[in-house]
Amino acid sequence: MTDAVAFKPESPAREAWRMFRRNIPAMIGVVVLSIIVLATLWGTFFFAGNPYEIVWAPHEAPGVAPEFLLGTDYLGRDIFAGLVTGGGPTLAVGAAAAAITMVIGISLGALAGFYGGWVDNLLMRITEFFQVLPTLLFAMVLVTLFSPTLTTIALAIGVVSWPQTARLTRAEVMKIKELEYVTAARAIGAKNRRIIWQVILPNAAPPLIVSATLTIGVAILFEAGLSFLGLGDPNTMSWGLMIGSNRAYILDAWWPVTFPGLAIFLTVFSVSLIGDGLNDAFNPKLRER
């Protein structure tokens, strides 16, 4: 064992990355999302402009003044400034909501799938309760009850979208817990907690990662939807808020709505492409050996 170089199989992650790299749509997704994230980082940390400042007359078309490339909104605020500074909160809400979804969904799903019996029964009834609630309406109720701030919006989205993840996790855990290596772990005396977190979940990770990625996209759309309905946080510039507050004037001015709309579209689209790419990369059936 000391100096013998054994045949070392390629690690699963490396293999998945190799698969992923060959997937052209997924790589396009990575490039587009990187650009968006970089622009957002730049807008958050280095951009000097204030997105709330009224810089010019309201509803000036894009290109009329070179310094306001994308025109101005109904107050005369610069759309470009809104776009680059609004990306941060938008992406943050998406990521935070996805994180909440994953934490609740994976915890409940794993417990239900592993223990079965009455625990499963109880947790799945709870999951079903949340699953049958109309998600957007429920999120609206939550945001209305607790004033519309970015935190409550992220929480509301997370709370309404975890049941899918819980069901997925439960199915994976139920499948994996019957496998030999789990029995082996049990045989050497591993405790339940250790088995769940260190044996089963790592092996259930691939579909969960895909699901998490897609959840980010859904959460961004959700935030936009809430803002569109006037339930956004008026103190935090986000793309959804830009669309929501400008939509009344859409017949007069298309640009204040179109640019943040495009930004949301590109973000969600590239996140979906990446999600699909990950799905393919983790799928052993598509792997060439």
Partner: protein
């Protein structure tokens, strides 16, 4: 989404059209769109547009007003004020009956006015009324404890509906009376259906005491929650009138419809003012100079021209500019950022401050948009503004009535005479916790209290004007409220309509003269 809204709007209208009464009627059916649901239809104990529009059709009042401010006979065929201004004699018409056939008598008038005095939110309206004598069935004498120049205006349809004593005088609390939903009145129309959230149907009163009126057979107040569906209903010709229209986009859109007329006439009596209120009890805002600094930073001209697309007009003082009592010589606070900054430094806030601003949720242009504008504009004088959204009207009203705010946008009506709608905002004794549209600014100035008390009893119009002029100078200068614009209420109506309701009370007035000649 636009298409969705359109389809949904069409569906709502189609559904409600099916359920409504006969479409073919000789005198025609007037369909009015509204989006506020009244709690009930008894204007004697409930203020507000939503109740007043149907209430003025159902109930008659002693007097009525048309385009000018001269009172005209209605239930009172003549009236006489005593020399000392302490009693008003109303001589009632002989032939007026309630919808249930019982005659309208001086007993009903006395009962109604005392009920309003006790229950209506506008306490100042009949506060000086001590008693009402009824020497015979058709004479009522209103006795006052002090002269009350606003009295004749307070006898308007929107403020003094005469309610039947034989229905409401049964000892129950009138504010929660079961008859409030479908009340019996003596006005030109009889309420036959009230489905909250859907429609109020008013049918012609065949025994109306004014000969040959009403002209219409029916008025349907269709309640449509979605403002864009209201506009679509007007565009499609499914509705004939859209009162209290204030959004510049909606106004511009309906102006393009050839068969419609859009006017801003009919709101002189209401005198709606859109303003920014300060909580003067807040340590940050108790210094007048901070409030003045904010007043110098806000550009009223930009708000009316750019944010309201020119549909609203500027308002510089507490009394609506179209009123004869408005004093045009008040300090206009023309935008001056340097002066604003200097005032901030003098007040000890050289490093700026943080403030929150509330606004009434609903159509954004008059309220939320200005709150967002303030966030941008006040940043220039070192004030960081947080816009505090309220999910619904009761939340906003709860915060403001509970004095839990720093700045708030607000929309307050003058209601014709300053005594009725203006005094309440500035009187020290009207600082009442928990009452919205009282003196929620906690503003107190002994001289203002004195001036208002004197103006409330001054019968000489010129002397009264002088008192109000001094009051306006003080209030505008000390800025408990920064006045922004007159709320640009407009009425859109079918151009063929004869006698559209464009008097001082607009649609809050009996529509007994309205005709729709080409109605099917």
């Amino acid at each position: 989404m636009k298409l969705m809204t359109r389809l949904m709007g069409a569906a709502v209208i189609a559904a409600s059209a099916l359920s409504s009464a006969p479409l073919f009627a000789e005198g025609g059916t007037l369909v009015i769109v509204a989006n506020q649901v009244p709690r009930h239809l008894n204007g004697a104990v409930q203020s507000g547009i939503a109740t007043a529009v149907p209430s003025t059709q159902i109930f008659a009042s002693p007097l009525r007003y048309d385009e000018d401010w001269t009172p005209q006979p209605y239930l009172a065929e003549s009236w006489e004020m005593s020399e000392d201004g302490l009693s008003l004699t109303l001589n009632l018409v002989q032939n007026a009956t309630f919808h249930d056939g019982k005659p309208v008598t001086s007993e009903d008038v006395a009962f109604s006015i005392m009920t309003i005095k006790e229950n209506h939110p506008f306490q100042t309206m009949f506060a000086p009324v001590e008693s009402i004598d009824t020497p015979d069935a058709h004479t009522a004498i209103i006795r006052l404890s002090k002269p009350h120049p606003a009295l004749l205006l307070a006898l308007s349809p929107a403020l003094a509906p005469i309610i039947p004593k034989h229905v409401f005088g049964d000892g129950q609390d009138v504010k929660a009376h079961p008859a409030n939903a479908m009340p019996v009145g003596s006005g030109p129309f009889i309420v036959t259906e009230f489905t909250p959230g859907e429609a109020i149907v008013l049918k012609k009163n065949p025994d109306f005491f004014l000969e040959g009126r009403p002209k219409l057979d029916e008025i349907i107040l269709r309640i449509i929650q979605d403002p864009s569906a209201m506009v679509i209903a007007m565009e499609n010709g499914e509705a004939d009138m859209y009162p209290f229209l204030a959004g510049s986009q909606d106004i511009r859109r309906l102006e393009k419809v050839e068969s419609l007329t859009i006017t801003n006439e009919g709101y002189a009596g209401i005198g709606p003012i859109n303003w920014l209120a300060f909580n003067t009890a807040s340590p940050k805002l108790s210094d007048m100079r901070v409030r003045q600094a904010i007043a110098y930073a806000v550009d009223r001209d930009f708000i009316t021209k750019a944010l309201h697309r020119g549909v609203s007009t500027q308002q510089r003082g507490p009394i609506i500019e179209s009123s004869p009592f408005f004093d045009a010589s008040v300090e206009p606070f023309n935008v001056d950022l340097d002066k604003a900054k200097t005032l901030m430094v003098e007040a000890g806030f050289a490093d700026g401050m943080e403030l929150s601003v509330d606004y009434i949720p609903g159509p954004a242009e008059q309220q939320k948009t200005i709150a967002e504008y303030l966030k941008s504009q006040l940043d220039k004088i070192g004030i960081t503004v947080t816009v505090r959204a309220a999910p619904d009207f009761p939340t906003w009203a709860g915060r403001v009535a509970g004095h839990d705010f720093e700045l708030t946008m607000d929309n307050v009506f003058n209601w014709g005479d300053p005594v009725i709608g203006v005094h309440r905002t500035y009187l020290t004794d009207n600082i009442r916790q928990g009452v919205i549209w009282s003196n929620t600014q906690s503003y107190s100035n002994a001289r203002v209290d004195e001036l208002l008390a004197a103006a409330a009893v001054e019968l000489d119009i010129d002397k009264r004007k002088a008192l109000y002029a001094e009051f306006q100078q003080i209030v505008v200068g000390e800025v408990p409220v920064y006045f922004i614009n007159a709320t640009p209420y407009h009425t859109a109506y079918t151009s063929s309509m004869v006698n559209p309701p464009l008097g001082i009370w607009g649609p809050m007035h009996p529509m007994d003269m309205v005709e729709l000649p080409d109605a099917n």
